[in-house]
């Protein structure tokens, strides 16, 4: 029982206390934290999508450190399949290693193991089976109104994904989603002195990627095995009544990956509260082959992937949309390229209709 209860307590005690002119309060707390050694952290995903695949290696940092986690740039990374074939990864920059897309394309039904050599030690993951992901059948919306803390009511659409879970327990899911919209402007600048914002047109077609950050959306089929599941995946704002384009990613992850993310979600959301489970070290499926007591962090996942882009209707609401006030810009003439990043792409999204 995790996040709920924390909120339960905030919400039940806060009003009682408030009523009696008291205030239940949350205040910053400055803990005395100890620093310890740096540990290997792995972030690796292999799917049935065509390569290259990415492995990111970094070091852990003291909790209160203001610095970035340091990248590991000197490791040898490879993936072994069930037949013993080795596929090596090359370091690109800042701890990111890529596979060779010409020689390595992962397939569903195959088993993969990650092997890392670093600092004279060898690390290996448990063998991971790449499972076929069930497809996303439909996505639909439902209009709801939510009252914000300042008393203003705003409409939004809850987005449901419908998936048929295969019969037999032991299916684990992870979802990602992004909103994409075509943009005419590829760069923005701000002149602080003149207090003027400038925008630059794109040289080629370009799409904005809008993602909710820090969301860990996972599930196990323990309680809905074999059923068609309608799951609230996100909500979209009712700031316009035009269709809203979204891309949904559905991954069939392994139990190890599921356990890792579930544990991360617990730790990230609510550790330290009185109704939380005691904080625990996050389990990893990677270990030191010589010394299993060494704590290795992160996860190697082999996951089946299905993706779908869908236009969601926003004209079903009973009221008019609220429209946010647009920011004013001064337009520039010079065009800027559409650079691939976490918030922009030049690739036409799957399912996009111009």
């Amino acid at each position: 029982m995790n996040s709920i209860i924390n909120w339960t307590f905030f919400k039940i005690f806060l009003p009682i206390a408030l009523y009696f002119f008291a205030s239940a309060c949350v205040e910053p707390f400055i803990p005395e934290l100890t620093t310890t050694s740096e540990r290997l952290t792995v972030e690796a995903l292999i799917s049935n999508d065509p390569g290259p695949y990415k492995v990111i290696l970094s070091l852990s940092e003291p909790y209160s450190s203001p610095d970035n986690n340091l990248p590991i740039e000197t490791a040898q990374v490879s993936v072994k399949d069930q037949n013993g074939a080795l596929f090596s990864f090359k370091h690109d920059n800042r701890g990111v290693y890529y596979s060779d897309s010409a020689s390595f394309n992962a397939k569903t039904g195959h088993i993969y193991t990650l092997i890392i050599r670093w600092n004279g030690k060898e690390y290996q993951s448990s063998p991971e089976l790449l499972k076929e992901a069930p497809g996303i059948d439909t996505a639909y919306t439902r209009y709801v109104e939510k009252t914000l803390l300042n008393g203003i009511t705003k409409g939004e659409f809850e987005v449901y994904l419908s998936t048929k879970d295969p019969v037999g327990k032991g299916d684990f899911y992870k979802w990602d989603h992004a909103h994409l919209n075509k943009t005419d402007f590829c760069a923005f600048t701000y002149d602080g002195e003149a207090r003027v914002r400038y925008r630059f047109p794109c040289c080629s077609p370009c799409w904005n990627i809008v993602k909710k950050r820090g969301v860990i959306d996972i599930s196990a089929d323990t309680y809905f095995d074999g059923n068609t599941v309608n799951r609230v995946i996100t909500s979209i704002p009712y700031d316009d009544d035009t269709p809203y384009f979204m891309v949904f990613d559905q991954y069939a992850i392994s139990k190890n990956t599921y356990t890792f993310w579930k544990s991360v979600r617990t730790q990230v959301n609510n550790t330290g509260g009185i109704f939380d489970n005691p904080p625990a070290t996050i389990p990893s499926n990677i270990y030191n082959t010589k010394d299993t007591s060494e704590l290795v962090l992160g996860v190697f996942s082999a996951a089946g992937h299905k993706s779908r882009g869908i236009y969601l209707k926003r004209n079903t609401a009973p009221t008019n949309p609220y429209r946010s006030t647009p920011t004013e810009y001064k337009d520039e003439r010079v065009c800027r390229p559409c650079e691939e990043s976490f918030k922009m792409t030049a690739k036409k999204p799957l399912g996009w209709i111009d």
Partner: protein, 860 residues
């Protein structure tokens, strides 16, 4: 000492100067058999016995025990001419007073009255000064010239205006140094009501938390921890009915209605043999007898709760009943005053308590007790993430109910028995209104029991013996779809049921005026019954679903696993003089029922689990040594107690497992060793106007678990402090009587910080900051301290109106300290680049300001 004891026992058993009749000889042979069986049980490993053999043994032992009671002639072995002095202590309304102290000045000897107000002495002829006293009543002194068997009826007058004291140790003023009890506290209802309150409601659990040796994980968390024990190690009894969850509003209040309380007895050491089934403490709450002579109306109106009580003698001096009701209206706060999004919030409870007493004859009494309590709360906008169901608002419901019938029969003044049968039931549930996944979670635990207890007092010996037989049934949890469109499949966990039985004997023996021995033994047996599956894991591999190799099925009522054990209880008091005494005690207690909760504080919906092939019973052994002194004519009462306690098979949990609806609980439960030790100091000063109590304890409680799972390396194999390890706790209560009507009271509480785990490092995966914990409970939260004030204005005692009103004002947390409830770390992962994410530590205070409250109590 041992030699004296043996000599006395020999004479007691067989006096060579006496001519025994056949019956008397039979009685003695019977007693020998009884002792033999007891020793046999002690020496044999009961685990090796079959169920059948065990019950045959139990039957014989019980038979011999009963026969011992048939032998009512024992006084005749004493050759000197002696007379019986028997009596009953009652209040002005004719209600018998239990635990009133009767003191014989000439012999420097005393005892307390039983639950019917009875007492009896066997004395040589002569003149005696008898002192009868009881908390809240004026002491009465009588002169008795004993030359024949004599019966006394002593009526004590309530000393409302003079002695409305915060009585912490009840009974006689010098009971502290005179009895053999260690770590035992008695409080009457008056004492509980005199303390400053939170939100205007006097509360038993809250009062218990002011005693030495008691800690809790936080303000208004469910339950309390006694000398390093978990909250499930406390046996809470309401008129003999065990209560599984006493809390209302998740721990702000408890189920015990203060208007119907008679007294509470709290054992944290020296638990007598008649109590069992829990390892650490016993909280025995007794309801008072309804008024036998006239109708009565009582009640109280407070800010968020009110209560009402009606008492009516249906047949005067024969049959009387009382019903008390209590309800809260916290909801209106949410509805009328607060933010719109909290309108959905629900926080309600009510409870009913019923007590009836029937006295068909002078020697018989039948008590009926019943209660039901229901709680509901719903918080807008939370979700049940661990169940993998997205929910917008969860509604929690829990219901606790029970009933008992107790028949007491008194053969004569020295012997009698009680037969009790009861059931107790607790049913928590919550619903999940997630669209498309609507579901309801239900669970429950129930206990049905029959118990018998006989007592026999002789010159210097009182023996209590009896049996207990209980059937326990648990539904660990089921999930059911709550609408026809729900994608949830019905999900059930395996039901559990067991038979728990025990027999016990307890003897209080005054070996000499200076030495008192209280010795008891309890045998308990536990059998987990089918139908059910037992999962079998590969040998020498950790219990994990991956290593599951087989399943053994057990049919209905087949024994899946049984445990048994003996639980010795010992108490010894040696008076050095009239002022000082030394006491020593030992107890061992077994617990077959566990509350499985993997959070710092328990939730109402947490799971109960019976011992099985993998989950072994918890066994607590505690050794206590105490020094007691009453100084300056009993004005100062002091005690210093030290204890060492060991708890075997203390549950802990495998990291990162979700316990709710877990099909294979043995794959998540670890068992380790708990140990705690400490010193408890207690001082009390009483005078005409002042009454002050100070308690301080210095303690430590730790847990050691060896876990085979690699993810538990943070705590496996080394002692770590338990969640409720608070090394220093201090409580100071002061009551000051301004005049006959007005009293002022104050409580100061200090607790050192609670252990918590802070992260050491952080990692970054998928641009998410993840805190990393490499130890357990290695840090502490800031200290807790608080001052509460109370003011009570009684109606004028000189005006003899029938309507009596009383105002109660309280200030909780007077200097508005923001006491830490918890410290937590929150990572805000809303930035695309991980370094720009922030992870911060916060401290949550539940009550961050002063809380005034007011209530009006009436009595008609």
């Amino acid at each position: 000492m041992l030699i004296i004891a043996l000599k006395r026992f020999k004479i007691f058993l067989f006096n060579p100067n006496y001519n025994y009749s056949t019956f008397e000889l039979l009685c003695r042979i019977n007693l020998l058999f009884y002792l033999y069986l007891t020793t046999f049980c002690l020496l044999n490993k009961i685990d090796a016995l079959s169920m059948k053999k065990w019950y045959v043994l139990l039957f014989f032992k019980f038979f011999f025990t009963l026969s011992t009671f048939a032998c009512q002639d024992l006084p005749s072995i004493f050759q000197e001419r002696e007379y019986l002095l028997v009596g009953v202590v009652k209040n002005q309304q004719g209600v018998p007073l239990t635990d009133a102290t009767i003191w014989i000045e000439e012999l420097k000897k005393g005892l307390t009255t039983d639950m019917n107000g009875f007492f009896s002495f066997t004395l040589k002829s002569g003149k005696y000064t008898i002192k009868a006293s009881f908390i809240g009543y004026t002491t009465t002194i009588l002169e008795v010239n004993l030359n024949q068997n004599t019966t006394l009826i002593i009526r004590l007058e309530e000393s409302l205006e003079l002695l409305n004291t915060v009585e912490i140790v009840g009974g006689g003023a010098d009971k502290n140094v005179k009895n053999a009890e260690l770590g035992v506290t008695r409080l009457n209802a008056q004492a509980i009501k005199e303390l400053p309150t939170l939100l205007g409601e006097a509360d038993v659990i809250r009062t218990i938390q002011t005693l030495p040796g008691i800690t809790s994980v936080g303000e208004s968390a469910t339950g309390f921890n006694v000398r390093g024990g978990n909250i499930d190690q406390n046996l809470l009894l309401l008129d003999h009915i065990p209560i599984f969850n006493p809390s209302h509003l998740i721990g702000f209040f408890s189920i015990f209605n203060p208007d119907l309380l008679r007294d509470i007895t709290f054992y944290r050491g020296g638990i007598p043999a008649q109590y069992g089934g829990r390892a650490s403490s016993v909280l025995d709450v007794r309801l008072r007898d309804p008024n036998m002579e006239s109708n009565h109306l009582k009640g109280s109106v407070g800010l968020i709760t009110s209560r009402f009580l009606v008492e009516a003698p249906l047949i005067k001096n024969k049959l009387s009943s009382a019903i008390g009701a209590r309800w809260s209206y916290a909801d209106y706060l949410f509805r009328s005053f607060l933010r719109p999004e909290l309108k959905e919030t629900e926080a309600n409870f009510y409870d009913f308590t019923f007590k009836s007493i029937y006295k068909p004859s002078e020697k018989d009494q039948v008590n009926l007790t019943a209660f039901i309590g229901k709680d509901a709360f719903r918080i807008a906008g939370d979700s049940l993430s661990t169940l993998e169901i997205n929910a917008s608002s969860t509604r929690y419901l829990w219901k606790t109910q029970g009933a008992s019938i107790r028949w007491s029969h008194f053969v004569n003044e020295n012997a009698g028995f009680h037969l009790t049968t009861f059931f107790s039931d607790y049913q928590p549930s919550f619903d999940i209104p997630a669209p498309g996944s609507e579901a309801i979670f239900k669970s429950g635990i129930s206990q049905k029991s029959i118990q018998g207890e006989g007592f026999l007092s002789q010159k210097a010996i009182t023996i209590r013996t009896g049996f207990q037989l209980s059937k326990l049934d648990i539904n660990p949890g089921s999930l059911l779809p709550a609408s026809q469109f729900s994608s949830i499949n019905p999900f059930f966990t395996q039901q559990e049921s067991a038979l728990e039985s025990a027999i016990f004997t307890n003897t209080d023996w005054d070996l000499s005026p200076a030495i008192r021995l209280s010795a008891g033994i309890r045998f308990s047996h536990f059998a987990l019954l089918g139908p059910g599956n037992q999962y079998i894991y590969a040998n020498e591999k950790e219990r994990d679903i991956l290593n599951l190799i087989d399943t053994a099925y057990f049919s209905n009522n087949q024994i899946i696993k049984q445990y048994a054990g003996w639980e010795p209880r010992l108490g010894l008091r040696i008076s050095l003089n009239q002022v000082f005494s030394i006491k020593a005690g030992f107890h061992r207690a077994m617990q077959y029922l566990h509350l499985i909760t993997n959070s710092t504080a328990a939730l109402p919906t947490d799971r109960w689990k019976l011992s099985d092939a993998y989950i072994k019973p918890q066994i607590a052994s505690q050794l206590t040594l105490g020094l007691f002194a009453n100084l300056n004519n009993n004005q100062w009462e002091t005690s210093l107690e030290g204890y060492y306690k060991r708890i075997q098979n203390m549950p802990d949990y495998r990291s990162g497992t979700n316990l709710l609806l877990l099909e294979y609980p043995e794959t998540a439960i670890l068992q380790g060793l708990g140990r705690s030790y400490g010193l408890e100091l207690w001082v009390r000063k009483q005078s005409f106007r002042w009454d002050a109590n100070l308690s301080y304890s210095l303690s430590r409680s730790e847990i050691l678990v060896h876990s085979p799972y690699p993810e538990d390396r943070a705590f496996s194999g080394k002692y770590y402090p338990s969640n409720y390890n608070r090394p220093h706790t201090l409580n100071l209560n002061v009551l000051y009587r301004i005049n006959k009507r007005i009293r002022l009271s104050a409580i100061f509480t200090y607790l050192s910080g609670r252990p918590a785990t802070f992260p050491d490092e952080r990692i970054s995966v998928n641009n998410i900051f993840i805190p990393l914990y490499t130890s357990r409970n290695g840090n502490t939260t800031p200290d807790y301290h608080r001052l509460d004030l109370g003011l009570i204005i009684d109606s004028d005692p000189r005006i003899t109106k029938k309507w009596k009103g009383k105002w109660n004002f309280s200030l909780y947390n007077v200097y508005a300290r923001k006491n830490p409830y918890s410290v937590f770390f929150k990572t805000i992962n809303d930035r695309p680049v991980s370094t720009r994410n922030r992870s911060n530590a916060f401290q949550l205070s539940v009550i961050g300001s002063v809380i005034p409250s007011i209530s009006y109590e009436f009595d008609y």
